[in-house]
Symmetry: C2
Subunit: 148 residues, 2 copies
């Protein structure tokens, strides 16, 4: 049974002694109900529908706080060799852990999860005496539709 969003928000605030503001609450709630990872800018546009005067800086600041407190993950899914692109963010609560497949042609994103792989990573970290906190694993290639 997942923790209710209200409780999670309270926990988020109290973890850092943050104040409860309408911007912060709206960002938290809106972000947490996303099923797909999204960019800070995409989130900003969604938020504007509810609170037109909200600022991008507030969105970035809040996302950063969410990441630092384990409520969000930041992803770099840009195909290397391309130009700078924005990070994606995804809520960690209410979502199983997963990694990504990215099509370098059409940009499509798929998620995958593999337990063997997860275990293997832990073994590798252990081998190097690393205390593993997170990982980035992205497979690049051409998706079904793009390789003729």
């Amino acid at each position: 049974m997942k923790e209710s969003t209200v409780t999670a928000y309270d926990r988020f605030l109290s973890m850092n002694g943050l104040r409860d503001t309408k911007q912060r609450r709206l960002i938290f709630e809106t972000f947490m109900e996303q099923n797909e990872h999204l960019t800070a800018e995409a989130l900003y546009h969604i938020l504007q529908k509810d609170l037109p005067q909200i600022g991008q800086a507030t969105v970035y600041r809040t996302l950063k706080l969410l990441c630092e407190n384990g409520f969000a993950h930041e992803l770099s899914l840009h195909s290397h060799g391309g130009h700078a692109q924005s990070s994606y963010f995804e809520p960690t609560l209410a979502r199983e852990h997963h990694d990504h497949l990215v099509c370098t042609q059409c940009g499509r994103h798929l998620e995958f999860h593999n337990e063997v792989l997860e275990t293997l990573q832990e073994k590798i970290a252990e081998e190097y005496s690393f205390e593993l906190t997170s990982h980035t694993h992205v497979l690049y290639g051409k998706c079904k539709n793009c390789h003729s």
Copy 2:
């Protein structure tokens, strides 16, 4: 037996009908003899010792060409949650394929390689009908020295 650097350079040129210039040659040779991944700026500083008037743009342009032709890999090793950081580049020839462990505290980078993991990735890609071309796999955590 590895291909000699001269031959590789010629191949690099002819693959794209590029001209042989002293900047291009110097960048290619200097980059190819690096054992560690490095940033475009770090490479630029090394190059300046041999060719003080070389421009950053030329370094970036050449690295991009190297990436597009499989002579270099671009890596994003920045610990998420931090600010924008530069990409790292590493030569692909004369180096075995490997992935990275990054210490989020001291920034130390270690390399690892695991065959089971490589095979597993191919299986996953196949499962999703992806034609795999590359991957990014970075494990973040605290290294031996940093976790008390």
